[in-house]
Amino acid sequence: MPVITPPPLPSEDKRWKIVNGTMRKNGFARHALIETLHTVQSSFGFLDDDAIRFVALSLRVPLSQAYGVATFYHYFTLKPPGKHTVTVCAGTACYIKGADKLIATAEKRLGITPGQTTPDGQISLMTARCVGACSRAPVVLCDGEVAGEITGEQMLEQLERWAVE
């Protein structure tokens, strides 16, 4: 077995140790790329250039492949999220029950389109393909918490609460 010397951690930040832990658990195998990027995103909230470079170097994966994977999958984001995130589910059941109107309402209130964050960094607006809570459509996730059978007004109330924080 060739001895692998992993690159130094990008900074003193303790979260890199968690990322390293995932890679070590998988024996620094190349197929652990997606698992590791998941750990980066759950620790840092997003994937930046430094993170992708560090993971690619550690796992001996070409940078192009690491960047390719990071951009191919919708779950990964290369931009830092806002303090709060409102995710409107745009699955079929939610669409039938008017998710498009919820998205339009949120867009109008926040002045951004899905995938963006308000300029003050307070709220990110996202859409999801399906969160699996179809029986309670339309569904909105407020910081990950499922709110089912939600109306535009209820969603706006939540956005107002966040906006004044």
Binding site: V69, G91, C134, R136
Partner: protein
Amino acid sequence: MTIEELEQIAKNVQQENAKYDFEVNVCMDLACASQGAGALKDALEKAAEAAGKKVLVRRTGCMGPCSHGPLVRVDPEATLYHHVKAENAPSIVYGLGGSPVPELQCDLNDHFDKQVRVVLENAGLIDPEKVDDYIAHDGYKALLTVLTEMTPNGVVHRITESGLRGRGGGGYPTGLKWGTVAKAKGDVKYVVCNGDEGDPGAFMDRSVMEGDPHRVIEGMAIAAYAVGASKGFIYVRAEYPVAVSRLTTALREARRHGLLGNNICNTPFNFDVEIRLGAGAFVCGEETALIASIEGKRGTPKPRPPYPASSGLWGKPTLINNVETYANIAPIVRNGGKWFHDMGSERSKGTKVFALTGKIANTGLVEVPMGIKLREIIEDIGGGVPGGHKFKAVQTGGPSGGCIPEEMLDVGVSYDALVKMGSIMGSGGMIVMDDTSCMVNVARFFIEFCMTESCGKCIPCRAGTAQMFTLLTRICNGTGTIDDLALLEDLCVTVKETSLCGLGQTAPNPVLSTLKYFRNEYIEHILDKHCRAGVCQMAAVESKNEVMA
């Protein structure tokens, strides 16, 4: 772990449960949990303690009728309460043993009577985080029987005999697939569980993984024994964090009990399972794309052959089945292939779990025997379309499926019948639409989905879906022409016949099926600039008015 030890655990659980006079089961699946089932469970525990009654309050997986949530079932009376709030806890506890709370009781006999539960047999009965609960309901009995009494060939034979077909959508005969992998040459083989439930509007796999995770693991272990594999992977969507955590717990528990690991049940059989997270790509439901994703690459499909059965994960023979397929294995082994074969229709055996959603009174999970009429599912089990609206169509099979109109509702559900109607079985999403849905807009919604989910590897899918989306958008906003419609139909055929994988090959289905059954709506959009459902904004009409003004 031996069969005797297994029986001892089951006996212990029964003895433990017998200490209580009542069992209060609280559904804590996503839908109920999002309505405060967690606080409700705590309140019930407190109320039972205060009342001094011997009550076992149990967290369970999805009970089914989610629109009635939060749900509570009291045993032994089998009283079902719906829309229960934490403040109702004292009255429920007070009513135990004779005086149920009338205002919370719900009568869902019509809903349950026509259902047959095989995959969901433990739903609402066991705590998903307790392996002992699963064992007490015949859990892992099938695995140990297989290991001690059956040959791998015998297992494949039993599954073949059952007539089980893949529940992920395609309906490939499971026994045949197992047989192929079993015969494939190679010392290393893999068993993969496809839990990448990407079909929007379907959530039965999530529910099984969260509510009865051991059932999936047991099915995989039996499959591994049958095909000669010693390593398994469960590929789960990252959007399902609860499923991931339940599976992680279940795997740990199974290892602790010696139901996974080396020399299971003192036999030479070794097997262990790893969880792999998806990252939000619909195409990863396709088996070769899923394999690429487990290998840590972009999830793009490969041309087949070679099929994964001969060259799959890291080039080794690989068995890939869906969550629901694995969930059917243990009951088939326990009850025999014939038992399963006797349920269902001519060429589709057993039961199917559907996620009933959309404009329907009882949304939630239902499990029905194959061959049941769509009308029975929608009207009897689902309770029909609420709010005085009129039923328009039911969509099955997600973005790869189609819309089925009212006049076809008396057809029995089977793989072949659905294909004949221009849809597919798919993984089991069933979305009911009423007269407030525009079928052209629905087709556009699905094409937009396929367009954004196309991996981009082959041109028909990458460019074809984008062109179809443009044409449908034109028709939706009133600027489409009859020529656009002809071009759209032409493109449907091209994309269907020339795409590399299932995503592209089935992407035109929503368009084709709506064109088949709701063509007049397309014509109205084009000629009359009118959307009868009032969904589409007719830009052309407005601009014409402006010019005239």
